[in-house]
Assembly symmetry: C2
Homo-oligomer: 293 residues x 2
């Protein structure tokens, strides 16, 4: 089982931008892939799911007995509602670093549609492949953040430690230069019990470079889970554990979601505060975040 060849070629080309994500050619490629994915999705049926997530409705793409991961109806752009045109507006904003013609909400919706469409195609065309959706989502978010921050991310940092020098493999790290905070950007399609790694990596960076040198900003797609027997969608959230991590391991500056779980959004309003926002908001607060404050 393999991806449709146009989409697979796009994915292979995308991996070529690994060390050069801050490149407008990567925007063009992602937009071409988004259009190819949308065209391919016409081959599938859409089937409504039973949502146990308050206030959110989900559907799956379906073909030959297989269901894709859940898609949030309100965030998903139909091809008929000017998908290609919306993509163009989004691409122009990313490439020009000018966001006057697009809203935070529109950015989140477009990014959600691009990401979930690719993931669903992998769900249906490949078997048990978690890596390809994760890598695509990482590159999509890495590219958009890189274009906004006008910096290429690294995937490792030097750890100088008196008598030794070690490379620490990390998620994306953006170095904006002297007198500016650096960004530590883990990217995950979902977090579950693995999320403690994010706070632990942040702790490590705090320890090595001093607390406050790196803003920890986690970007996630969703926390939905589909029960394959009952077709019920739930969200897997552990807000009490997040609070303990934020109190006792390290402090994340932002958690960005495309499909924000309500239980995590509520963390904005309790102690310890964990700022959980929609991914689109990053593009309107990045300039403030790049000052120390």
């Amino acid at each position: 089982m393999s991806l449709p060849s146009r989409i697979n070629n796009g994915y292979e080309d995308l991996k070529g931008f690994r060390l050069n994500l801050c490149d407008s050619k990567c925007t063009d490629l992602l937009i071409k892939m988004a259009n190819d994915c949308m065209t391919h999705l016409a081959n599938y049926k859409r089937i409504s799911l039973v949502s146990h997530v308050e206030g959110k409705d989900y559907f799956s793409f379906y073909t030959s007995g297989k269901y894709s991961r859940p898609v949030l109806k309100d965030k998903w752009i139909e091809q008929e509602t000017c998908f290609t045109q919306k993509l163009g507006t989004f691409g122009d904003a990313i490439k020009s670093n000018s966001y006057s013609a697009i809203s935070s909400e529109e950015i989140s919706t477009i990014l959600y549609s691009i990401a979930i469409n690719f993931c669903c195609i992998v769900d249906l065309e490949k078997s048990g492949d978690q890596k390809t959706p994760g890598t695509f989502f990482e590159y999509l978010i890495g590219h958009c953040f890189a274009m906004k921050l006008r910096a290429n991310p690294c995937k490792e940092v030097d750890v100088l430690n008196l008598d030794r020098s070690t490379k620490l493999p990390t998620d994306f790290v953006f170095d904006l230069g002297k007198e500016k905070p650096k960004f530590h950007l883990p990217v995950k399609t979902s977090t579950r019990e693995r999320v403690i790694q994010v706070w632990a990596h942040q702790r490590l960076l705090d320890g090595v470079y001093g607390t406050g040198r790196f803003w920890g900003t986690l970007a996630c797609l969703a926390e939905t889970k589909l029960d394959n027997k009952t077709k019920v969608v739930t969200e897997i959230c552990l807000p009490d554990q997040w609070k303990l991590y934020q109190l006792f391991i390290s402090q994340m500056k932002r958690i960005y979601y495309l499909d924000i779980p309500k239980k995590y959004e509520d963390l904005n309003n309790s102690f310890p505060k964990i700022p959980v926002k929609s991914v689109g908001e990053f593009f309107f607060e990045a300039d403030d975040l790049t000052k120390f404050n």
Copy 2:
């Protein structure tokens, strides 16, 4: 695909000891399972593997086109060399909490054989099941440590935090009572990139209860990896990353292995010191560890 029924019944019974691991009936059950597993293994071929691990030779059990995980020849007890009798001596030591008739090395060899035999049977009789071997190994180690410490472990701790109370799910935690250190015992068949979770959980316990209240002791089976095409065995080790975790996240008191990777054993002799030992040694140093020192 499912486990042979005797072994499966044993595994189901074992799960019944979840909240009561410090029970000599659990020793008897584990020894019965170990004998059942050894009997069943006679159904498989044994095929030598190509070892790229210096100084260690490995084989796989093999049946109908499937290879089990690698088995370390020097640590594996043949049925013909008094396996049942050795198991009996081991069981008597565990139940009586008296280790004069058995050596640290013998304990490690027996525990290795019990664990790897069960894991190999799951590898060959089930498909893609990582959970069952992990659970069995967790119970095996949890039981032996519980019998030595004469305490039942918990799988969660209370976190009292001014205006809230939360349960924190943990690996095994042993509370030995007032004026004694508590033990935080994560158990893993292998660690790979997930190991940062262990240091992060330790950090959390240090933060909540104060540094030094919990000894962090990780118990692992092995770090071997079998390339299914070439039949080459390698060890996946990240000692430089462990050093960073030990320096900047928290301090583990012990790392116990059944098949100790040389690269991790070397951590005993460099800065920061991470004491990496054979599991058998626990039973001879536990009394010292249960004093604050």
